[in-house]
Amino acid sequence: MASNRHWTWFYRLGSPRWFYETTGRWLPWLWTLTLVLLTAGLVWGLGYAPQDAKQGNSFRIIYLHVPVSFLALAGYYLMAIAGAIGLIWKMKLSYMVMKSAAPIGAALTFLALFTGAVWGKPTWGTYWVWDARITSMLILLFLYLGVLALQYAFHSQESGNKASAILALVGTVNIPIIYKSVDWWYTLHQPATIKFTSAPSMHIDMFQPLLLMIVALYSFYALALILFTRAEILQRERKATWVCELALQAGKDSAGEAG
């Protein structure tokens, strides 16, 4: 019995309805937290942090670039773990989380590449170089797109779930290998033009807003993931009674407001 009670929270997570209702209560708080953190971080980083000695103001894009790249990578692992939970415990909800994580992750990876290119122009004098980190991010983007494409290729939701979960897991095994080999490939080719001067020792005044932005982006990621998952839940459970009741209620509310 004791071990049963221990696991109830985990089993409850498997219920989309429970997730929908609980996150519904969290959402206002999460919205507030995200907006406050993002505003504070952006204003601090873009307005008040000191200029970089060599790069001037252009370095400020770091406050978007670094947190976004962090989450792009972390998001892949979240997606793969959600997929693994789905495969092992056959939880509907974790497949929904996995499916929601894919487009968010792909968008963040694209944003990381885009901000990197924008930053690269004034700093390195070019939008694109075949640097190890940039190349790995590009590969990560294609890994995300692969999971996304596979998910939508199947007519049956079930097959799409399972197939993209397996692909996400295969990708997880491969990511360290891909990263190491791209790193090795890069050191072999040695284009010596790029030096990332300010990375290792960052002044504390520059570092604090960066830390705040990382926390803000994590909060934003959680918010986006929850919103995507909620939409996915409604879509997939549209025939369930509780969703129908929810829709009826929402219809009544808006009718009441209009009248």
């Binding site: 079930e158 097959s159 399972k162 197939a163 295969v170 891909i178």
Partner: protein, 224 residues
């Protein structure tokens, strides 16, 4: 007893490709034809060709393997023999490994054997011929195994070919990096056994892990 599935499927697939030799030869034809495009598209100058040859040969071998991967489980899925394989009371990874081995024997190995000819046409320095063959032999086996995971995932889709390449090419990247690195280091006059050893390590990992992923994918995806 335990490896009955392996040898049975290896023999069966080799026999099937022997009876359809034209089909089995098409990756090889592709490899040869694309190598004609390079001097035509880039330059017939031996110096420039020699510079491009290590990478180009590897890219062409990769694409040739990729093209042939789509059919790995597709015909079995269409005629129902895949179902037979799935319901057989044995570890699914072994027949899967047998099929992939047969695939390598019919694509990777012939590619490796004709690669000196392509090397000659693209003026690859002669010191690099043995490293190229060794890296192709080990590397194409990796490519077959990784590609089979993609083929298993897309087996029940009607137009899986293009999707297969999207799924699999990112996973091919480590193989092509170390494969062409082995050839390139040999051209530069260094010891090329290092990259080859890493390729061999990748092959060991792929032999251990890929059949499990393929078996899982086949079971899950074809079950509904």
């Amino acid at each position: 007893m335990s490896n009955v599935g392996f040898t049975a499927y290896l023999k069966r697939d080799l026999l099937l490709s022997y009876r359809r030799l034209g089909e089995a030869a098409s990756p090889l034809m592709f490899f040869l034809l694309v190598s004609i495009l390079i001097p035509l598209g880039v330059s017939p100058d031996p110096g420039r060709l020699a510079e491009l040859a290590p990478g180009m040969i590897w890219v062409m071998a990769l694409l040739a393997t990729l093209l042939s991967t789509e059919g790995l489980f597709a015909t079995d899925h269409q005629d129902g023999s895949l179902e037979q394989m799935l319901i057989a009371p044995q570890l699914l990874a072994l027949p899967v490994l047998g099929k992939v081995t047969a695939h390598w024997l019919m694509t990777g190995l012939p590619l490796t054997l004709v690669s000196p000819l392509i090397g000659l046409m693209l003026s690859l320095p002669s010191v690099a011929v043995v490293p190229m063959m060794a890296s192709l032999a080990v590397g194409t086996a990796c490519l077959s195994l990784i590609g089979a995971v993609g083929a298993a995932l897309t087996v029940s889709l009607r137009k899986g070919g293009l999707l297969l390449s999207i799924l699999v090419i990112p996973l091919y990247i480590p193989v092509i990096i170390f494969g062409s690195a082995a050839v390139q280091t040999a051209v530069d006059g260094f010891n090329w056994l290092g990259p080859l050893a890493i390729l061999a390590a990748m092959l060991c990992a792929a032999i251990a892990l890929c059949p499990l992923a393929i078996a899982g994918a086949l079971r899950l995806v074809s079950s509904n």
